[in-house]
Subunit: 245 residues, 2 copies
DNA sequence: CCGAAATGTCTATTAATGTAGACAACCATA
DNA sequence: TATGGTTGTCTACATTAATAGACATTTCGG
């Protein structure tokens, strides 16, 4: 049988990478759940219409990610297949939404500083241009696998100790609470997809060439006053964004 | 000045493609709006830390997409920069949401057939396994640029003439109305990002290696009875999904 | 109308990617 | 324990991607 969806040449994406992406997708789709094994290299090679060595490069890259493990004489085993489902709702709370999917979630403050609002952020937060903001770069890992990398901005006047609190509490929700804001809602979200840049590859521990889902969101207090502007990047092959209504 | 976000080697994605992706992003971010020109090749080459010829390959690919145009002696001009903002809400209506962003929207029925419900779709639509469904493949273009490619499933018993209506009306909303359903709401949406397959590349007229945003949604009538299961794919570099609450 | 700055074209070379084939090592099982 | 099916390793070669440099061509401003 000839594979319907062949791999493509001369598009600036190496064949082994295209094949690795396709196998990764098959794994997360559960295509190999019956046996728990990836098809033999020779079979994959003929399906994709490439040489066996090219398939081996793809599998090597997946093995490097920890997704599969090859065993000489037996075959190549699927080791991991999760794709986290990431809820997005008016009350999006990272830890809460993932808590029933993973054992532990850890958020880390990578960096923080104070800077004046740019026009984009000032408009989103409904603040005058140049208003002082706290900026925080944070990353979250589920069961020690990085899933998100976010840059958040908060009005410095209202939330002067955001970074300190986050560093201690590891949670935006708790940091807001420490500033006397017990609840907040999401008032807008935009989503795009693109290739990860070097910074994101490193932070999210992605194999290069990977895709990120980027959400740009504004959160507000119960009175509708914006309190947070954030850009979050998710490893596209590890998460599904699930909108809740 | 050295560019902070360098380009990466040996990752299975050709440098010219990484650079093309980055320039495309800069264009849609409006980075070149002031002059309407992409920086000179030599400057780009030094910023990305590559040879000028590599930058030329990237620009040639963008020119091929119609995004830029090089003029000897002058420079390289931005020709197009749009990124459509695609609203997703409980009452998502394609034509309505885009109407103030483009001049015309055209939807086409590519194919349709009838088939029994698979377990995934049966569960989503709350129907018994094997229930007859109408399947429709449709594509939409905004100002003659393809933006979405969707496969939708409807219960055949309730909406027997969905495909005929759509072929004539070019709208899901109107086709539902023709079946006596004036309103419907979205009850779930999931979003993932991945590389486009060959079929999607062709239908969405993407340059190969491109990324698609895929939404999997279930729509229901006002009583909450599911009426549509759909898988839509968007050209990631042409749209932003905008969640509305 | 000259010169600076930009893109266009050509040649040559090196590095990365992909193909081809042979054979070793290992595993399961008949 | 022999056999078939699998992954691991090696060599050789072809094709594509990237670098390097030289110079032509075009545009624009002084």
């Amino acid at each position: 049988m000839v594979q319907k969806k062949m791999v493509e040449r001369q598009i600036g994406v190496a064949l082994w990478r295209q094949i690795a992406d396709r196998i990764r997708l098959s794994i997360s789709n559960g295509d190999y759940d019956k046996t728990g094994m990836v098809p033999p290299e020779i079979k994959l090679a003929s399906q994709f219409g490439v040489n066996r060595h090219t398939v081996r490069s793809a599998l090597a890259s997946l093995a490097d990610e920890g997704l599969v493990e090859a065993i000489q004489g037996r075959g190549t085993m699927v080791r991991r297949k999760e794709r986290l489902s990431f809820p997005i709702s008016r009350r999006t709370r990272l830890s809460q939404g993932l808590s029933n999917q993973v054992r532990n979630i850890r958020s880390i403050l990578l960096a923080h500083d104070e800077l004046p609002a740019t026009s984009e952020i000032a408009a989103a937060l409904n603040l005058p241009l140049g208003t002082p903001l706290i900026r925080m770069d944070t990353t979250s890992a589920a069961d020690d696998r990085p899933v998100s990398y976010a840059t958040s901005y908060f009005p410095a006047a209202r939330f002067p100790d955001m970074a300190e609190h986050f560093g201690r509490l590891g949670s935006i929700t708790k940091s807001f609470a420490a500033h006397g804001l017990p609840d907040y809602i999401r008032i807008s979200t935009e989503i795009i997809a693109r290739h990860a840049d070097a910074d994101e590859l490193a932070t999210l521990k992605l194999s290069a060439g990977a895709i990120v889902l980027e959400t740009v969101a504004v959160n507000a207090d119960p009175d509708g006053v914006p309190v947070q502007f954030s850009r979050s990047r998710f490893a596209a092959d590890r998460v599904t964004l699930k909108l809740e209504t």
